[in-house]
Every structure is written in C-alpha cells, then in structure tokens.
Symmetry: C2
Subunit: 347 residues, 2 copies
DNA sequence: GAAGCTTATTTGATCGTTCAAATCTTGCAA
DNA sequence: TTGCAAGATTTGAACGATCAAATAAGCTTC
C-alpha cells in the first residue's frame, strides 16, 4: 500500500546526529564498545534502536576488505537417497554462520575445472572470503588451487592422500565413521546378535574403508577370528538395487546372520528389501528415508561439523594456529530404531 | 607455498592506467559498452584480461545500491522423503541466478515471526534485494510484511487465499499439479488401465486439492460417473506409513484397481509397499527415491520454476509490468518408469 | 593551577566503483 | 575557415562505512 518515498535507510551519520556524537563514535559503539564511555554508548544505542539502524553490508565490506561470506557448492542433485546430508549441513552452516555474522552463498559447478573457474570469479571479485568443500580426494586440483592462491577453505571430509592429511595448510572436519560403525556393531552384539554382517562399498574409497574397519574392529574385540569376519562381509556399489543383490548373496552364504551394518542408507534400504525386514539393518547418514521407513542409522551430526568448520575458518582468518591442529574429527551418533513402523511390513 | 605479498587485487584504475584511459571509460566498457568507441573498447578489454580484473563486488554494490543478491530460506530438514525438491530448486536458482549476475544467499528461521525478523535484518543491512519464499498460505504474515515494506519477492507456490491470487503486488510461480496429475492419469488409462485410483492428502491444502482435481477430471473425461470416482479415491496424511495403510484399505475396497496416482512420492512409497509392487503407482516430485526404487512420478521441473522466478524478479526490479501478469504456471512432466529395478522385487 | 598522562571523541582520508557534469574530439554544414 | 551539435572521454563527487591520526576531555601529581 504505502508506496511513498523509497525511504532511504538510516546511515551512521543519521545515528550520530540523533545521538549528538560523531560518526566514528557510533562505529566504535558497534565494533569496539569498550572504548566508548558508558553514558555515550547508551545514548548511541537508543538512537540506533530509534532509527532501526543497521550497518550497510556492502559499505562495511568495502572498507574492511572482508566479504564476511563463505561459499558452498551445491551439488547437481545430491546423489541418490543420501543427498539430504549436504542439505542438513548447509542448513547448519547457514544457521551457525549467521550467529557469527557470516553469510552463506551458493555456487554450482559441473566439474572440478569449472569449480576452479568459479573460485577465480569469486576471489577476483572479492565476493567471498572462504570456501567450504563438501569432500575431496587425493590430489584434488581444487584444494591445490586454493592453497596455491592462499585462499581460506575447509573441507567436510578428510583428504585421503597420506601427505595431505597432515598438511598444515589443509583444514578439514570429518566424521569418524569408523568409530560410529564400531559402536553400532558393539550395540548389536551387546543385545544378543551372534553374527553381524557388513555390507559396504568396494575397497579404495577412504570413507568406506574406514566404516568397514570399524565393524571389523568390533568383531575382533568380540573374539571373531579373521576368517569368520571375512565371511560376514560383502561388497556392493552404492545403489538400492546393488545393495539388495549383495545382501541376498550374503544371506544365502550366511543364513544365520542376525544383523547387518551397512555403509549407507541406500545400501541399507536394499538390504531391507532383500531380507523383507526380518534382519535388523543399520544404515549410515540417518536420512529422512531411514526415519520414514524406520530403520536404524548412524547420524553424522552435521550441526557439529558445521560449527567445527566455522571454528577452523576463523582460526585461518586470524592466522592463529587453529586450536590443537588444523582438523576436527566429529563422533557420529548411533540412532537405533527398535521397530520401525514399516520394518515388519516390508515382507 | 607462495606465501608472499597479499597480492592486492587490480582495480578499475589499474586497468585504466594500463589501457591509457580513465577510470570511467573502463567502467563504461563494462556497463555501457555502446558508448565507448570500438578501438578503445578493445584496448580496455585486453588490459582487463591481462590483469585478470573483476569489479569489486562490494564496491559496486555500495555505489549502485543494489545487493544483486536474493535470499532463500533453507528449511530445517526438508520434511520427509520429498525434501529434495527444495534442494533441486535451490540448485537451479543458484545456477540460473549466476547467469544473471545474482548471488543466492541462505537464511534460516524457526517460524514466520523469526522469518520476518530475518527480513528486517537483511533489508535494513541492504544485504539483499529480493526474497524467494518456498511456499505461502492464506494470510501469510510474511508476504504481508514484504508487501507492506515494498520488498521484492516471489513465491514458489501460489497464494491460496482468493484475494491474493490476483494481487498485483504478489508475484508467484507455481507448478500446475492439476495438469500433471491429469496427464498421468490419462496416460495410465490410455495404456489400458480400467480403474485408476487416487491417494491424496485430506482436503484443505490447496496443492493437494488441485492434484486430486486433475485426477478427477481425467476420470470424468473418460466417462466415469461421480459415484465411481468417489469410490476410487482415498485420503491419507503425508507419511509412508499412513500411505501404506490407506492404499491397503483402498485395495480391499477396490480389488480390481489396476493403477494408482498419488499426491507425493512419500505416499507412493507407502502404496508400493502395501501392494508389493503389483500395482503401478505414480508419485509426485520425482525424488531420488522414486528414481532409485524405479517408480513413476511427476516431475516439478524446478529448473523452469527457477527461471520463471528470476524473470519475475527482475521485472519487479525494473518496475515494469511483469509480462502477461505477475505469475507463471509451469507444466510438470510425467516420468513414466515401466519396470523399475526393484518394483517387482518389493513383494 | 599548570604540566603530564590517560581516556574519550572527532576529523580527514580511504576502500573501489559509478553517477553527473564538464571537457575534449570529431564530423560536417555553412 | 568557423561554428556547433553529436559523440567520446575525463574529472570530481558520492555511496556508507572504518582506519589512522589529531584533538578534546578527564585525572593525577607536584
């Protein structure tokens, strides 16, 4: 309705005038309150409140040469069922970032080269002062570029090349999948399971290997010998169908299997279909699908990951040693679902 | 490695100096090339390329008073299985926005009031010049606030209150669910289905009512009388379990049902479980789950939605009448999956 | 009560760009 | 040649904030 004037936003000078002080004092009240005398500070605060003043984002960014923005790449479709993880991570990042005055902006890219082109664009335009990468691999050209060009970044997912792992320039946060899977396996054993199988990805993906290792550790501690363990483990590519096939094969080989841990909710869903829900299955990622169907899963706790990532980033920003070291391992949480609404009904 | 100087980014003056022209000419080359003589323009372009110059985002924003940024709220978890829709919409928005020099930033909010607080924060800080809302309802305080404060915005999802629908200040894009469902139903009938059921949400949600209406239209056109139609329709709350229950009840009542259209992939999954995959089911949203399991679904074509939303936004920006009217209806695409990898195996 | 110090506040310059107005070129008719 | 409009380019100012240096105010101390 109103329509009227475009209603110019109040500036620091307007506040200053109203409070009877100078621009700089207003600025100080906001950025280094300690330096302003109590009475003045209060007067300025009421003026700010009265006018509904807020610092002009771009003006501040121009002067301070900080974009206060972190860029995150949004994947094309968030591959398969497990896509929601990035979603939740983004949400956490946006929420936690805002608490620290950071804006999260999105970019897209079709391949690593394209992504580097984006880096260049954003960096050259001073549009961003840090990047969050959602996963990296050994010899990743993206991290190489970022390091080469002195750009702040954190990866969600540890770098899997041995040398990179300790590279002080590479900051990362990751979820300790090994620990999570181990704990899930232990819980299954503790509640009476006699043989717990594992359905995971082919060797070579660092993440998958870690998850399998966690399961293997739990079995070893429970007294299983290596031959027995080997028989209880099977491999499948990510995908519901291939998970179903593999689970079926494993069950044929090991009819007495009474629980199954998997490397992802996608595989878990396949396994559930194969077993008709008769065998408890634990997935990984705790996706909405796991919740809807009602099977157990290991939650990555992306909220913690986001907080850790931001912590690392502003450590980088201040060029101070990022706490103990340049990375953080978050412990996932096992979410056991006793009897999902649909588990028994799948058969 | 490099380490060295912080390497100041080149400015418009650096380019000007190198090309032997003034600042403003460089600016003109970028913003109104027509006004610069051909030869000069070329010289400036090579200088730009040589230095790898790009306009400083914040400086430009400060001067032009445009943030070139649109804000989108990221939902807490993206409810259930269908969450991926927002995900894909965001991706499309980011990608298409970038083509037009727009940045997509995220914000979060726990409820409408909180969201309005965010509006205020972003608007007062001149951090954003338009909002995209992912759905609205009748008397939505958010759209009221935005209109009241002359803020540009578009909603994905038409406003369901009658008066709002034609409000020239409310710009919206929506997917014509009625049309999509109708088309899917027709396709099923065309390939020989004799009775096609509908599993949808309780009346009252505009979106759900539209979808049901599309199915009803198709049946009517095919010569079904209203009593027959009514018997083929059933209602369920969103959720895999309730979908399964409802589908089961419907099948008991109508054993000869040979196809089922549903209001969401979540309901579709429930129906598939109930029928053991024996009855073809069409979902809505074409989520990754539909693709993974292999059942048919209606795709919202979020990419088109994103483009339309951006078109409307810059129509608003230029205060020119937004094409035919302030809204766009996108036709969804029916994705028929003949024999999903898992369909027959669910039983 | 004036010198000397600390604390509080103000002034002028600057970040990098674009706007508005001024100046310089060019082309062409008189 | 001169005049003069149209076109091309340049100059000065401004966007709104913060930095750095300068000034003013408040407290001690002798």
């Amino acid at each position: 309705m109103a329509g009227g004037m475009p209603k110019r936003l109040p500036t620091v000078s307007d506040v200053a005038a109203l409070a009877g002080v100078s621009r700089q004092t207003v600025s100080n009240v906001l950025n280094s309150p300690a330096v302003v005398r109590e009475g003045t500070r209060e007067r300025v605060h009421t003026a700010i409140a009265e006018l509904g003043y807020r610092p002009h984002t771009s003006a501040r960014r121009l002067r301070t040469q900080r974009a206060a923005t972190i860029a995150v790449r949004l994947d094309p479709v968030g591959g398969g069922i497990s896509g929601a993880v990035l979603d939740r991570f983004l949400h956490a990042l946006a929420e936690r970032g805002e608490e620290r005055g950071l804006t999260v902006m999105l970019y897209t890219a079709v391949d690593p080269d394209d992504e580097i082109r984006q880096f260049r664009r954003l960096v050259d335009a001073a549009a961003v002062d840090a990047f969050v990468l959602a996963s990296t691999y050994h010899g990743d050209p993206r991290t190489e570029w970022l390091i080469e060009h002195d750009q702040a970044f954190v990866t969600f997912g540890r770098p899997w090349g041995i040398p990179d792992l300790t590279d002080p320039k590479h900051f990362w946060v990751d979820v300790d999948g090994r620990h999570g899977v181990r704990e899930a396996t232990e819980q299954l054993l503790a509640r009476g399971a006699r043989s717990v199988g594992f359905l995971g990805w082919p060797a070579g993906s660092g993440t998958g290997d870690e998850r399998r290792a966690g399961w293997a550790e739990a079995l070893r501690d429970a007294g299983f010998d290596d031959a027995r363990s080997a028989a209880l483990s099977i491999v499948a590519e990510e995908g519901v169908a291939s998970g179903r096939e593999a689970a079926r094969a494993l069950l044929e080989r090991e009819p007495h299997l009474d629980a199954l841990v998997t490397a992802s909710d996608t595989l878990a869903l396949g396994a559930l279909i194969a077993t008709g829900g008769r065998v408890p299955v634990v997935g990984f990622d705790n996706t909405p699908v796991a919740e809807a169907i009602g099977f157990s899963s290991i939650d990555q706790r992306v909220d913690e990951v986001a907080v850790a990532a931001l912590d690392l980033l502003d450590a980088v920003g201040r060029a101070q040693s990022a706490g103990p070291s340049g990375h953080r391992l978050i412990e996932p949480r096992v979410v056991m679902r006793e009897s999902g609404p649909l588990l028994g009904l799948l058969r």
